[in-house]
């Protein structure tokens, strides 16, 4: 029964999407963190998805290949009163793009929902198959 493979496939996708949602949450939470434990401003994180074969030929799941730091430039904000300001009065702020993160969040949650539905449909099919001939 390759239908059972779908649980692995959809499960891996749900796992990957929830990890993406997790990075979005951390990026949004730290959108204004001008400093962190290592003294540097927070850098936005992004997940990189990769397709991985599951079980037999044909089934492909997803995993998070790596979590990268967003390479886009940091935001410079003019705020001379801030203790973190440099000699010209600029504070380096995180490179989190709030609009992009919100879009990312919606996309992740929609993909998660699709996979949940896939799993539910498969479960129904399997249960009906169990009742075959009764």
């Amino acid at each position: 029964m390759s239908l059972f493979n779908i649980f692995d496939v959809a499960g891996s996708a749900m796992n990957a999407q929830s990890q993406r949602l997790n990075t979005v949450a951390s990026n949004l939470a730290n959108a204004d963190s001008a400093t962190s434990a290592n003294g540097q401003p927070y850098k936005a994180k992004q997940v990189v998805f990769a397709a991985v074969p599951v079980g037999q030929a044909g089934a492909t799941g997803v995993n998070v290949a790596e979590v990268i730091e967003d390479p886009s430039p940091m935001k410079m904000v003019f705020d001379p009163k801030n203790p973190l300001a440099d000699e010209k009065g600029y504070v380096t702020m995180p490179n989190v793009n709030v609009v992009e993160e919100m879009v990312n969040m919606i996309s992740a949650s929609r993909s998660y929902q699709s996979n949940v539905e896939m799993m539910n449909t498969t479960k129904t099919l399997l249960l009906k198959t169990l009742n075959l001939g009764q």
Binding site: N5, R20, A50, Q56, A59, G61, S111, S114, L132
Partner: protein
């Protein structure tokens, strides 16, 4: 007699196996809707069913199907040939391209999944009815 029964139930059994396989491919597409460079795949149900039916026949026609296990002693089981292998899977033509090289169209995949589910249930129902028919023939 057993052979006859087998032949009677065979069609819907094979159809179910192909639907099963297709559901798995569609699940992979939906799962990889956000994976860069993933190409959406599907199988041609007609061809897959034909080859599954050919492969499942008894005797001489059995050799025509997919890869079979080697049997060196009479007691060995022939096993079931794999359904559409990697070679049988086709790539979908993207309706709208995307910059990251992904060709999954979630709406199309969801529609295909719904269609496949209904067909799976149809085959399941028909198979159940056949079994019920046989049972009532036995019991009179």
């Amino acid at each position: 007699m057993l052979n006859r029964l087998d032949e009677m139930l065979n069609f819907h059994t094979q159809a179910l196996r192909v639907r099963d396989q297709r559901q798995q491919v569609l699940a992979s597409n939906i799962a990889n809707a956000d994976t860069p460079n993933y190409k959406a795949r599907d199988l041609d149900f007609n061809t897959a069913l034909q080859s599954a039916l050919k492969g499942s026949g008894t005797g001489a026609s059995a050799a025509a199907g997919g890869v079979r296990l080697a049997t060196t002693a009479p007691g060995h089981l022939s096993g079931s040939p794999g359904l559409a292998s990697e070679a049988g899977l086709l790539y979908r033509n993207p309706a709208q391209g995307s910059v990251d090289g992904n060709t999954v169209d979630v709406d199309a995949e969801r529609a295909a999944m719904a269609e496949n589910t209904v067909h799976y249930e149809f085959n399941l129902t028909r198979l159940g009815q056949q079994i019920k028919g046989l049972l009532s023939a036995i019991q009179g």
